[in-house]
């Protein structure tokens, strides 16, 4: 049996979504971003929304997200993606408008825009990648950095007296009247990826049906920033991150 014999449509078990192009990703080995990108591409394709989607990129590791998914993108200034998305969705009511933001972008510099867009009940989806560190700039402390966790700007570990407490902005979002669906997921194993996909899909469906604002946090790894191998990073995340950032649907007004 030759390779060509094997590559037949009936033998296909998995394929890359059409919206995902062949550009080599800049993400580090073990990073969660690539998986989430793929999920988004799959869902947009399944929902047949490629001509109806506006994606808003952050400043941070996902600053180049627009290189990998062949949809229309707007690269927002640091933290401002929810404001950019607000206008897009209000001006194009039948579009899927989503932002894709990291913890520094969403929970720190853009905390104001995030909370107000969610609280206004903008019919958008915010995908929130939380790896508890500033990856792009080289591993500095993030608003979500856990107590005791070491980063380049808290090299002896995060302590409340010096650095304040980690901000659980997703829990905060559940208390906002404008949010319809708030979920926290991860993509560190197959089961988690499946759950994350269904959460993002539910958020996108809500956005298209004009139901509230939707926030899906993906608790993620940053093996480079955490100075661990990809496998160690996954283990560390399960052991440490999930305790503070507990997985699951935190709010669903439809239930």
């Amino acid at each position: 049996m030759t390779k060509d014999d094997i590559i037949q449509p009936e033998n296909l078990v998995i394929k890359k979504p059409e919206l995902m192009n062949d550009t080599v990703m800049h993400y580090c080995p073990g990073c969660s971003h690539g998986v989430v990108h793929k999920l988004i591409a799959e869902i947009i394709e399944e929902m047949e929304l490629s001509e109806k989607t506006i994606g808003i990129c952050p400043v941070g590791c996902a600053v180049f997200a627009y290189r990998y998914l062949d949809i229309d993108w707007q690269e927002a200034a640091h933290g401002r993606a929810p404001a950019v998305a607000t206008a897009c969705k209000r001006l194009w009511k039948d579009r899927l408008v989503f932002t894709y933001q990291g913890d520094g972008d969403l929970a720190c510099i853009g905390a104001c825009e995030t909370i107000h867009a969610l609280n206004r009940g903008e019919k958008i989806t915010i995908i929130f990648i939380n790896n508890a560190i500033y990856g792009m700039t080289g591993g500095q402390m993030a608003p979500t950095t856990l107590l005791g966790m070491k980063t380049s700007t808290c090299p002896y570990g995060r302590v409340p007296e010096l650095h304040g407490y980690p901000l659980n902005i997703t829990d905060l979002a559940t208390h906002l009247e404008g949010t319809a669906y708030v979920s926290r997921q991860s993509v560190h194993n197959v089961a988690a990826i499946r759950k994350a996909k269904s959460a993002i899909k539910k958020a996108f469906e809500n956005s298209m049906n004009g139901i509230g604002s939707n926030l899906v946090e993906i608790v993620s790894t940053c093996s480079t920033g955490w100075k661990k191998t990809p496998v160690e990073a996954n283990e560390w995340m399960e052991k440490n991150m999930f305790e503070f950032y507990q997985l699951g649907d935190l709010k669903d007004i439809k239930q």
Partner: protein, 363 residues
């Protein structure tokens, strides 16, 4: 009725709001700040979302408002905001981003005196901020300076046309006098908002998903890792600015044909200067007024055209001396150029301008 236009008595800020609805604006995003809050208030009263479908949203900050313009403009819609000096200072980041990726939008600055919180009284001290970019990086925005409530009504549509013609943010640089005073105004006729197909045709560059399967994705990003590519992008922007600079100079002149002494003033101060010219002409002095309408590009061609008869120039502004630099540069310092300015919210009277000019003539 003048040319079938309806006549009203209203504030400049109200005229801006009415004109926005009438000229087919798709969205207004703003944050309250004195002395321009009537723009958002008037729009909220007019409820254009029930008539033209225009979106009106009170943003959580000026920072959010300008980034809403980024999103709306990049998706091909006609979007605008208004604010006053401290608020516009906050918007500078967003304006730089918009200029970098060539997003059209209209920004109204009803200036107040500064710096800092300053005062809620009128000022013109944001001239430099508006005309030399204002945010980070090399960029320019067209800046139109209204001098009447009528101008406020008329410039909205002109600003939108320029913004889309050059794909560039465009400023209406007003001041607290023009924003707050009431005058007779003819409002423009209603123009329908563009349909999705019309936006698709006019703005094939827009990121809105329209006909994506038949084209490459439209991506707005000012980030570029390769310096040479970034420089090429900047060079292309500079070429566009050169074109704008050549084509879009606007000014009006008043009794300049034989003027030996010239006022140069914009916005509300040009109204005082106009009265000063009339008084001084009646006293036998050959005085004229150049009122730049476009502050960027500065109307240097117009200034140089009237320059031959001019002996001396008096630049009058509600700031400590900002436009005076453009006047000197435009004429390459071929004439003595003097400045009369009031700051901090103090509006000069025509008498002050007359006195300042008499002092110059008697020198």
């Amino acid at each position: 009725m003048e040319n079938n236009r309806e006549c009203f008595l209203m504030k400049g800020n109200e005229a801006i709001a009415h004109a926005a609805v009438r000229c087919g604006c798709d969205g207004y995003f703003g944050y309250p700040i004195t002395p321009q809050s009537e723009v958002l208030e008037t729009l909220s009263q007019l409820k254009p979302w029930e008539t033209t479908g225009m979106v009106v949203l009170q943003a959580e900050s000026e920072v959010a408002a300008i980034n809403m313009l980024y999103g709306g403009g990049a998706s091909g819609k006609r979007v605008m905001t208004s604010s006053s000096s401290p608020g516009v200072a906050l918007m500078q980041e967003g304006i730089s981003y918009m200029a970098a990726v060539e997003i059209p939008a209209v920004i109204v600055n009803v200036q107040r005196g500064g710096p800092g919180l300053g005062t809620i009284q009128p000022g013109q001290a944001d001239y430099l901020q508006a005309t030399v970019g204002g945010g980070n990086g090399d960029y320019n925005t067209i800046v139109l300076a209204p001098a009447s409530v009528q101008d406020m009504a008329d410039y909205v549509d002109i600003a939108f046309q320029l913004a889309f013609k050059y794909r560039n943010p465009t400023f209406i640089l007003s001041d607290g006098v023009i924003g707050q005073m009431m005058e007779q105004v003819y409002l423009p006729p209603f123009k329908p908002r563009r349909t999705e197909e019309e936006i698709g045709t006019e703005c094939p560059w827009a990121a809105n998903g329209y006909h994506l399967t038949q084209r490459k994705p439209n991506i707005f990003s000012s980030l570029e890792m390769d310096p040479k590519t970034m420089e090429q992008r900047n060079t292309r922007l500079q070429q566009k600015y050169a074109l704008m600079s050549k084509n879009e100079q606007r000014a009006t002149t008043f009794l300049c044909d034989d003027a030996e002494y010239l006022y140069v003033a914009f916005g509300s101060v040009s109204r005082c200067a106009e009265e000063a010219v009339v008084v001084l002409r009646n006293r036998g002095h050959k005085v004229g007024l150049l009122r730049p309408i476009s502050l960027w590009p500065f109307p240097k061609d117009c200034l140089n055209k009237i320059l031959p008869t001019v002996k001396e120039i008096l630049v009058c502004e509600m700031n400590a001396g900002q436009m005076i630099n453009d006047v000197k540069l435009s004429i390459n310092c071929q004439r003595p150029v003097y400045h009369y300015g009031r700051t901090g919210g103090v509006v000069p009277t025509p008498d002050e301008l007359i006195e300042a000019m008499i002092a110059l003539i008697k020198q």
